[in-house]
Symmetry: C2
Subunit: 430 residues, 2 copies
């Protein structure tokens, strides 16, 4: 990789997500050369992917060009590249566009959908961790309804209008709520020649409550909200397989459904060269100390979803969410500056700012440290916080315009099959 040599030490950041971007911003104007790598040329605001899938937002409004973020920072370099291996012996990383030496290496490569080894679900189910995946899901949902119009077989038609969402975390809850609103507000108008009341949205949760990382109150209220929207919640239910048509579970319960969305788990992206047994924690995450240094290394750090800072008070590390990623990125930035100035690094302390999830219009749940609330106000707080953390003034404006429009008009106009998912529907004829 032809990055010019610099007299400053080189910090290589792998990944332009929340953690990587927060770190990069902190290193702006400091005496380091920063090389940021990402396989995409854009940063993805993952919390709003479900709105892209459900036609509420355009993908471009939750993506931001990484080069634009780094535009005003001298001594910054960006390359679109995928990491293939870390070669700790000679302080190099190998990527698909060549190798690069580092003085400090920061792994911020994030997480991906965890199918827990179930290849059949991986093959036939849909994931929603990236913009292309979300657009595929958007296309597939719309294609299913177009397809449902073409059959006289009621059994087949029901399967095409049956959605099974596995995983009762924020992603599953938000997607289920959005689909339920579409069923209620848009489908009857868009498909007057289809009995869309028969469409089903099933949310499946392995444990005994949804949003299990939140308060019991939030879980309860979210369940009420979902049920009021007509979502069927199946608790204590484990999905075992999906052949693209039939969803089986550990019990007798089965679903005939054209769409299964798998939102039941994430795992850290694997980094070759940093995969020694003593480093790897559950979910593939890398064990780091309180300075985010990867176990056994002084100049290799991990931040965000991929880092597991397992200590007494946080035995499973921090939650794999935006907040810890942003905080770790900023903190590591400050620590690297301290290092450059010959000072001591300071340990990372996570400030839990609470968590929230939205179900639908005027329906959200918010857990702050001392204050938990649900409903209309929670929903406005949810929107405000998401607009605030979105990168870029234009994106905020576009998302805001969409939200106001969708709210006033009970609509979602980005229901466009721009690139068909092109599923083979022949199996539903069997």
């Amino acid at each position: 990789m032809n990055i010019p040599k610099s007299s400053f030490p080189r910090v290589v950041i792998v990944g332009g997500g929340f953690a990587g971007v927060a770190l990069a911003k902190k290193l702006s104007g400091k005496e380091v050369q920063v090389v940021l790598l990402d396989k995409n040329n854009y940063h993805t605001f993952q919390p709003l992917l479900y709105q892209v899938s459900t036609g509420g937002l355009e993908p471009d409004s939750i993506a931001y060009p990484i080069r634009k973020i780094l535009q005003d920072y001298p001594n910054f370099f960006f390359r679109m590249a995928e990491i293939q291996q870390v070669q700790t012996s000679d302080q190099k990383i190998i990527t698909n566009i060549g190798s690069l030496s580092y003085d400090h290496l920061v792994i911020a490569a994030g997480s991906e959908t965890n199918f827990f080894g179930n290849t059949e679900i991986e093959k036939n189910g849909m994931a929603m961790k990236s913009i292309p995946q979300s657009l595929n899901l958007r296309s597939m949902i719309l294609e299913n309804f177009e397809q449902a119009l073409l059959t006289d077989n009621l059994h087949e038609r029901d399967a095409l209008m049956n959605f099974v969402i596995v995983g009762g975390g924020p992603t599953g809850v938000e997607l289920a709520g959005a689909l339920a609103e579409i069923k209620k507000g848009i489908l009857p108008k868009d498909y007057p020649d289809l009995d869309t009341r028969r469409a089903q949205i099933n949310l499946i949760q392995s444990g005994d409550r949804i949003l299990k990382e939140m308060s019991e109150n939030a879980s309860k209220k979210a369940e009420d909200f979902l049920e009021s929207l007509g979502v069927q919640i199946w608790k204590n239910t484990r999905v075992t397989s999906y052949d693209g048509k039939k969803v089986t579970t550990k019990t007798d319960l089965e679903f005939e459904a054209a769409t299964l969305v798998w939102a039941a788990g994430v795992k850290a992206v694997s980094i070759k060269g940093l995969d020694a047994q003593e480093i790897l924690k559950p979910g593939n995450r890398l064990q780091v100390n309180e300075y985010n240094q990867v176990q056994g290394y002084e100049n290799i750090y991990a931040i965000g979803d991929i880092a597991c800072m397992a200590k007494e008070d946080t035995p499973r590390g921090h939650p794999m969410m935006a907040q810890p990623a942003i905080q770790q990125g900023r903190h590591l930035g400050d620590n690297l500056v301290r290092l450059l100035e010959g000072k001591k690094m300071e340990p990372f302390i996570y400030k839990d700012k609470g968590s929230m999830a939205t179900v639908g219009r005027n329906k959200a749940v918010v857990d702050l440290k001392n204050y938990k609330f649900q409903g209309v106000f929670a929903w406005f707080v949810w929107m405000f916080v998401h607009l605030f953390f979105l990168i870029g003034f234009r994106n905020r404006m576009i998302v805001f315009v969409n939200w106001v429009y969708n709210y006033v008009r009970f609509d979602r106009e980005a229901r466009l099959i721009i690139r068909p998912y092109q599923r083979d529907y022949s199996r539903f004829k069997e």
Copy 2:
């Protein structure tokens, strides 16, 4: 195709572009059953495709769900389908989702890029007539610059930053202008480690002036605008071939360029069953009479780009643009209503409202019947007219926000490679 029978006569409209949608709106609430078919579930606002390609707009803002347009019209049916054949013998059309009988058939299937049989250019060049094509071009432009960073071979790097646009009509002119503005305002900031001054934008025109359908004044001024932005205009030049790397012309002139955009012609989409020699006019268009009836048929009509109303005063039919399509759609709607009421149809008379093209910020040319002007005011008129004809309040708002942002900030933030074009760059290594 399972469309319910109706006591009203059935009008089948093939194509949801400007013409088809204008017609459908006119038939709302009338005593007909309308079935609209389109291969996409959205209407495309083609005049702004070049802004999608150049990162100024998101694709979702110039697309509009056809089902949404038809939502409030009872007795309207929409199907995502591609027409395969017209069977005039038994008044049926054959599509990829089955056959459908008609009482009145309206062909509004539009036009596609015309490569004039040059398969090598078709294979290696880029077209820009649909949203997926425009997104492919967007990805490719950005990928070329990312790729240019990876090579030390100056020759190769120049080819990757060299853009050849063939065709000096509005599409070619607008794309060239947008690329020139990107070169000037965005590339130096996004690619500080690349000498983007070496990027070239070449506009090739076979005739002796660009925008040849407009006034000489408009052509001259557009050329001045483009040259002031650094676009190289090559007039009286015919491109003969392109192997993905080298553009050859009829003379000694050659270009080494990674990107060739073919905007040098369109032709009507072919409709099997309506392809008798006596119907077909140049560019594959269907000869229609002044009621838009396809020659030889009483109940088959063609409107928009695909129709050629060749008469004494319009020997080559009307221009293949939005305005004639909208006017013909509306006019045919009125005529069909007249028919239903047992009245006589009225002949179509085209009202030429003028034409316009934009080159860049504050730079456009407008030809009205009695008033021709260029520059800042023309540019505002161009924007106003395009916003006006865009379908949907949300789309207008989003486009407006983008334009204001882009104007104030000299920026285009949708420079996102959401789905890579995934070109094979190995040929540039040769």
